[in-house]
Amino acid sequence: MSDPDSVISVRGLRMSYGELEAVRGIDLEVRRGEVFAFLGPNGAGKTTTVEILEGYRRRSGGEVAVLGEDPQHAGRAWRERIGIVLQSCRLDPYLTVRESLALYAGYYRAPRPIEETIELVGLGGKADERTSRLSGGQQRRLDVGMALIGDPELLFLDEPTTGFDPSARRQAWEAIAGLRELGKTVFLTTHYMDEAQYLADRVTIVVGGEIVARGTPEDLGDRESRPAKISYREDGREVELETTDPVRALNELTGKALAEGRELEGLEVTRPSLEDVYLELTGQP
């Protein structure tokens, strides 16, 4: 690896299942210490891609380096350095929180302290509770704890909050946001735009196995340079204007209204939200 700060580097990744091309030439670069969101609708090729990066799946083509190694051939030493939270994985219902972490800690050469990890994922009061008695959000926190127990440099989270109610999502998010403070690199796949917005430093949107946009949550899809929408009511009619120069347009509009002594009821200036951009890019209604 030429760049020591590169944690994941992918060039021209392809994956086919028979006739179906699930991933069609993806390039990715993830740098040390960032939370990277891989965002896309269901069936976009997210899980296929993350499973290739995790070493679960062989690829059809392209180059992949994760922590400087090809996951397809990486061994135990490489697995010591990564942590994985699977999309759907139930915990052993007959073990407690502490036991689940202790079991996994035993798999690693230099695990994190168990009690500290329990506190880190906010399960301090639940250490001796069987995992079957935890709520969905608490179980996900334990998932994150089990992925962290080996003190990995890189963490994969595959759709960590799919199917969660709002409070469970919030709990899971807090646990994930805490990872940044530990200096971990996080590769997050999600189909929730707000999740990417809340958690990620950088977002890449994938649709139909291809990348359609990348950037920070703020400037994704050139949101800043898109036309703004000005709307108001006049004589009971809704009026909508689109403009790339809202400052000038607004000045003219309000100047004219003031001069003519008219009201501009319900005057509003809006930018396309990240959600608008996402829905437009993913071709969803």
């Binding site: 679960y56 135990r76 994985c89 139930r90 036991e99 079991l103 035993g106 089990m146």
Partner: protein, 252 residues
């Protein structure tokens, strides 16, 4: 090796806390022995020169317990763990795959040995069935070979089980008829010879014969032929398992 012990410890914890596994593996064989002894208690079975029914059923139920602790318990718990995604998650850690399997197999064999002690003790105390101390090495040898073979068969069988719901029906559909046909539930002398010939094609009958002859007073002791047949089934299971065992869920 310490990693295997680590895995084994937690497999033991999970096993003893699971009411279903404790009931079917530990309590159910005990109940069966009590039922058989109560129903057919005072009769004689015309094998090994004529033995009391209870003397017949103690080794028979030990055989059932061993198969239940190994093949049945492993096939079910591995399918559940596979479909839960727990096997896949384990593969994402530095723990080698064989450690995981070794922990589970060790768990099964320890439970099988425990059932030997439990059923033998129950037979001795409740029904005065003698414990053949002089042949203890042979008994343990047959039991361990059988337990290992049925572990391999259980692991191989998971490949044919598509979901958690299908696990119990498939395992029972295979084993229950074989228990009946192999002399485990119905004494040998009441089975038509055609049935026994048919059962000879499967491992349950061979394991039963090998164990029975080692355990029962006046039995032939170590029967290499039957033991070899059990071991051959185990090797076949091992090869199938190595080829077809999967770590990722079938569903989704």
């Amino acid at each position: 090796m310490s990693l295997v012990l680590h895995q084994f410890r937690y497999d033991q914890k999970a096993f003893w806390r699971n009411p279903a596994s404790v009931f079917f593996t530990v309590a159910f064989p005990v109940i069966l022995l009590l039922i058989f002894a109560t129903v057919f208690g005072d009769q004689t079975v015309d094998v090994a020169g004529g033995v009391k029914t209870t003397t017949y059923y103690v080794p028979a139920i030990i055989v059932l317990s061993v198969i239940s602790a190994t093949m049945q318990s492993l096939a079910m718990s591995l399918v559940i763990a596979r479909e839960d995604g727990r096997l896949k998650r384990g593969r994402g850690t530095p723990m080698p795959a064989w450690v995981f399997i070794a922990g589970r197999v060790g768990n099964s064999i320890v439970v099988a040995l425990l059932m030997l002690v439990l059923i033998a003790a129950l037979g001795r105390v409740a029904y005065s069935v003698p414990v053949p101390w002089s042949r203890l090495p042979e008994i343990v040898a047959v039991l361990v070979v059988g337990a290992a073979a049925f572990c391999c068969l259980g692991i191989a069988l998971t490949a044919a089980i598509p979901s958690q719901d299908a696990a119990a029906p498939i395992v029972n559909a295979l084993l229950l008829p074989l228990y009946f046909l192999s002399g485990v539930f119905i004494p040998d002398d009441q089975l038509p010879s055609g049935v026994i010939h048919f059962a000879d094609a499967f491992p349950v009958r061979h394991f039963f014969e090998a164990f029975f002859e080692a355990y029962v007073p006046g039995g032939a002791g170590l029967e290499w032929g039957n033991l070899a047949a059990v071991a051959a089934w185990g090797v076949a299971g091992l090869l199938l398992a190595a080829r077809y065992f999967r770590w990722t869920p079938r569903s989704g």
